[in-house]
Symmetry: C2
């Protein structure tokens, strides 16, 4: 039996959710609520001691880390639709992009998303209530991140992250203005994992992602959003409602990227 | 034909070097000299436009990114010794560790290594000569990093990175005090990729990595250093000589980690 614990279809949670819908795998899903720190509750830390979603449970075995889960599903269910090239070189080309999103692109978007959105999730708590919740977070630097989300990130850090976002989008555009997909001629986990972070940036970062500057990135996001699997996923899996978040449907997706 | 372009056996270059020696693959090697910015020269940027080592060329195809290269070698040469579990779950357990070193552990060690070592590599250059070299670096944030290595990283960044190093080593120790290898019962790319960053930290970070606090990490590093493949690699592949670097053989290895 397969069961996926995740947030709604944005950021790192989107990666295995979309992979599951693309593969058509029968997976039980449980959505956790980040605004009540549900992923830091004891019942969930028994599943993932790091208190992070997504987490996949397959016949009692726990697999964590969004990109690792996606490759696991491809390794374990080879008779389902392929989202990874068969040849070694194609796999390597795919992994250069999934590695890059995990170690670079996702972090800068995440910081800005946290600055904008996550603070709002906890602004109704008193300082004592907030610190009580932060104490339950098992990863020390996640504690730092929650405190910064509430009290504000250093401006120098925000500036540096915005610069990295520009570099990231330029790198995607450079490729996607010339190629349909990140790995030439095949829709793969490279697209899914980068789409998970990029989707909605035309609303959250319109000065960077827009028709004039990044037509390739917009075309690619539209093409993924129009796939039957993406439509089914967004129809079936509810998005998070962040208190005070804007009404545009995708703007909130950058929020809890690095969890 | 296989050809590997790398620095000496430390940090990210060590990953494919040790993998090649463990597998016993016939690979031509070319060492680049970081102190003269050889990886930013035009001839090398024709191979890897990002100007980063390691890079593997296999029958004309270029594969970059150290961890991706290691998995490529395992995918492409299944008849050579295995450094990756056969089952999907084991592969996932391995990838959690290789992903973690790439997105977390390697970066904090790299910053401190650059602060200590890379500045020295360029302190004989005039400001004009230095800037001339920096202009040839294709990745904008690598330009920032070289400038910081020369002029000093912000203290707040150094403090944060040191805290992350402590967290990283504690995570390794927690596991290695109970298990022989990172993936239980098998020496894998998880060990190689983490060893690439950790090796020598008992000299560079003795207040963090030492017999009293981290016996598990020390035992594991010793065990890898004593493997015939590691001995052969360190005997055959010369280490970088950083100007003014300490004489302890492994201390300089933390230097150019994130390249």
């Amino acid at each position: 039996m397969l069961k996926l614990y995740s947030f709604g279809p944005g950021a790192n949670s989107l990666k295995p959710l979309l992979t599951i819908f693309e593969m058509g795998l029968p997976v039980e899903r449980q959505l956790l609520n980040p605004s009540i720190f549900e992923h830091h509750e004891d019942w969930f830390k028994k599943i993932n001691p790091r208190g992070q979603v997504p987490a996949l449970v397959h016949d009692g075995k726990v697999i964590t880390e969004s990109t690792v889960i996606c490759e696991y599903l491809q390794d374990e269910f080879p008779d389902y639709p392929k989202l990874r090239p068969d040849d070694s070189y194609g796999k390597a080309m795919m992994r250069i992009w999934t590695k890059w999103v995990d170690e670079y692109f996702c972090w800068c978007v995440s910081t800005i998303g946290w600055q904008r959105m996550v603070g709002r999730m906890v602004d109704h708590l008193s300082e004592e209530e907030f610190e009580e919740k932060v104490k339950r977070i098992p990863i020390p630097e996640q504690q730092v991140k929650w405190r910064r989300a509430r009290h504000g990130f250093p401006q120098e850090m925000l500036d540096e992250e915005m610069a990295k976002i520009r570099i990231s989008i330029a790198r995607l555009e450079e490729h996607l203005s010339k190629h349909e997909w990140l790995v030439p001629e095949m829709y793969t986990l490279a697209d899914i994992c980068n789409f998970a972070i990029a989707n909605g940036m035309q609303f959250g970062f319109p000065e960077i992602v827009n028709e004039a500057d990044t037509p390739g990135v917009l075309r690619w996001m539209k093409q993924i959003n129009e796939r039957p699997a993406a439509k089914a996923m967004f129809a079936e899996v509810p998005r998070e409602q962040v208190r005070g978040s804007p009404t545009r449907p995708q703007e909130q997706e950058a929020a809890p990227a690095a969890e």
